[in-house]
């Protein structure tokens, strides 16, 4: 098997003096929906940022399509790999369509500012995220769920084969969380894109991921298909939580039921 398109070898990741991960190696299976989980401050977003070339590793290297990711001109890298950051700022007064169209930047040049491919990509991205009707609205007037879909549409319009999403479901209510995850599943299943997402909810991760990476203290504790690796021991090791694992009645994937410390519901 040839090496995967995106992988990092012996990464040491640090913010100034504070080292988050040492000699971390990770490979993202092509065509997978990879989800990184772990407790707060375990280094999962740091790993994602390193894969997305936002954080320069202190040691080790990230490779994209057989080449050091830092060797690509930044626009070329942006045609291969897209990132939805944890937080972005919508410029004041910008409209939905205008923001989504910014996703086409890596495909444009100074005097090739708008091609027919751009029009199609933006229309597709808005249709896929269900925001076509909102396209002339101002982003600052939208609800949190709508806004998140707009940002997602911007990254989709970029039309990269690999997509990195840093906590795409935060700030969303449960219905919108599922909506975004269904959309991600669709992108991976029907459009053949490789997705890497950092998620907080372990049950969402188990349901949607084809490849799960569990991290703790900057290290990868386990990785593989959720049904192969998620059990009571792993959840205790990674999150320090005792639980039972049952089959998700909807999908058959592992469902984590946290153990109750004492009876919480008192019966009269």
């Amino acid at each position: 098997m040839s090496e995967p398109r995106l992988h990092g070898n012996d990464l040491t990741l640090a913010y100034d003096e504070r080292v988050i991960s040492r000699e971390l190696s990770v490979a993202i299976p092509d065509g997978s929906f990879t989800v990184i989980v772990g407790p707060n401050a375990c280094g999962k977003s740091t790993l994602l940022r390193a894969l997305a070339r936002m954080l320069k590793p202190t040691a080790g290297a990230v490779h994209l399509d057989g080449q050091l990711i830092t060797q690509y001109p930044t626009k070329e890298a942006a045609r291969r790999l897209g990132l939805l950051p944890q937080s972005s700022i919508a410029p004041e007064g910008i409209t939905v369509a205008d923001l989504v169209s910014r996703g086409r930047y890596p495909h444009q040049r100074l005097f090739r500012q708008w091609s027919t491919a751009d029009t199609e990509a933006v229309a597709d991205a808005m249709a896929n995220t269900g925001i076509t009707d909102l396209r002339h609205r101002r982003v600052d007037e939208l609800s949190g769920g709508q806004r998140q879909r707009v940002w997602l549409a911007m990254v989709l319009a970029q039309q990269t084969p690999i997509l990195l999403l840093d906590e795409p479901t935060t700030f969303l209510d449960i219905a919108h969380q599922i909506e975004v995850l269904d959309l991600c599943h669709d992108l991976h299943a029907t459009h053949g894109r490789t997705l890497v997402a950092v998620l907080h909810d372990l049950n969402h991760a188990c349901r949607y991921a084809t490849h799960l990476i569990a991290m703790r203290d900057g290290e990868i504790v386990a990785e593989g298909a959720p049904s192969d690796i998620v059990d009571e021991t792993l959840v205790r090791d990674v999150f320090g939580l005792s639980c039972r694992i049952i089959d998700d009645p909807e999908t058959g994937t592992p469902l984590v039921i946290p153990a109750a410390k004492q009876p919480l519901v008192t019966t009269a």
Partner: protein, 378 residues
């Protein structure tokens, strides 16, 4: 503005050519991204996006510039009719005096006003974008205070020819800008840190200026004070050439970097994800904006409020989000040109133009704050 139904595409007479737009070499079509967004296509996939309202408003600003230009050349102690002004401009003066007044005195002055105003407007737009702050302007990074300190130092120590003073302003401003950039640097420069460090540097430099003025001889202090107000008096062709060359050198950098700069407004990570080299773009724009401010201050002194208000007014006029550099430059040129007319001829005594821009800018700020305040309360 009424909305035309279809874009003014250069459609040929019906029936003469096929409906296929590809047969035309140049075409204009809506982008469908906004009701006013269009794309101009040319051969070899060349395409330029534009907004109808922005384009119209920029056209309007150009018309204002032409009006200010002709008025500036015509009005004065010796009034020249518009027809004679145009004739004089095209090398056919009615008499040598008109030639001297128009081409020798008034023309360079209005050109310096336009160039300095445009430079200040563009510079302000860049600083507002980079700092993501509507109050961003060259003053923010302490630039103007640094330039003032440099110029006042030269005036007081050497007595100072115009050129020496300009040099002092440029050196003072650039040194301050570099120092502020380095002090604010921490894994790249964030807008907020830039503002805080800039305010601190500005405050220190302002007190240095006051100290120098206090220790100075009265006459020298007075001439320094005149420079500190900002004035277009006695600006001549050598100013036009110097400012013009500077602006021409910086303009291409602005044109290339302004698109990626607008993406940085969304945050460094989002911009990097889209293929923008955030730090390099920011450094390039900072450099361009600082050089523009330096040129402007060197030529006319620290003229206040143009850099702050021109981008705001331009944004209001065009309805675009964010700070468009080109529109802000046109607005700055129009503002300073008009202010100089007011400063020379409308007021009972001629005043340095800096006094007028402070008054206009101050009124505008008060109006802006009152309006924002009302909007937040209702």
């Amino acid at each position: 503005m009424t909305a035309p139904t279809t874009p003014a595409a250069p459609a040929g007479p019906p029936g003469t050519s096929g409906p296929d737009a590809k047969t035309r070499r140049i075409s204009v079509a809506p982008t469908d991204l906004s009701p006013t967004g269009y794309v101009l296509r040319g051969p070899r996939e060349l395409s330029v996006r534009f907004d109808r309202r922005v384009t119209l408003m920029c056209g309007l600003l150009v018309a204002v510039l032409v009006a200010v230009f002709l008025t500036s050349l015509a009005v004065g102690d010796f009034t020249i009719s518009p027809g004679d002004v145009v004739r004089t401009l095209f090398g056919n003066p009615p008499d040598p005096l008109a030639d001297f007044i128009v081409n020798g005195r008034r023309l360079p002055r209005v050109l310096v006003a336009f160039l300095v105003g445009g430079a200040l407007g563009a510079s302000g737009a860049v600083f507002q974008s980079l700092s993501r702050n509507p109050l961003g302007s060259p003053d923010v990074i302490g630039f103007t205070s640094g330039a003032s300190a440099g110029a006042v130092f030269v005036i007081l120590v050497t007595g100072g020819s115009m050129l020496q003073v300009a040099g002092g302003a440029v050196v003072g401003g650039l040194v301050t800008a570099i120092a502020v950039y380095l002090l604010a640097y921490k894994r790249g420069v964030q807008g907020f840190r830039l503002i805080l460090v800039g305010i601190a540097a500005g405050a220190m430099l302002t007190s240095a200026v006051h100290y120098m003025l206090m220790r100075a001889e009265l006459i020298q202090a007075a001439s320094a004070q005149v420079w500190l107000t900002g004035s277009l008096n006695t600006r001549a062709w050598d100013h036009v050439v110097a400012v013009g060359i500077g602006v021409a050198l910086v303009a291409p950098l602005l044109a290339v970097l302004s698109r990626p700069m607008r993406l940085i407004e969304m945050g460094d990570e989002a911009a990097t994800g889209l293929g923008v080299n955030a730090e390099r773009t920011r450094l390039g724009m900072l450099l361009a904006a600082t050089v523009l401010a330096a040129i402007a201050v060197a030529a006319a002194g620290p003229i206040a409020f143009i850099a702050l208000s021109a981008p705001h007014l331009a944004r209001r006029l065009t309805g675009a989000s964010g700070a468009a550099v080109g529109a802000a430059a046109l607005m700055g040129a129009a503002l300073l040109g008009a202010s100089d007319l007011i400063a020379q001829w409308v007021l009972p005594t001629p005043l340095p133009v800096g006094v007028v821009t402070v008054c206009i800018g101050g009124l505008y700020l008060v109006w802006l704050l009152a309006r924002e305040g009302r909007r937040n309360h209702v």
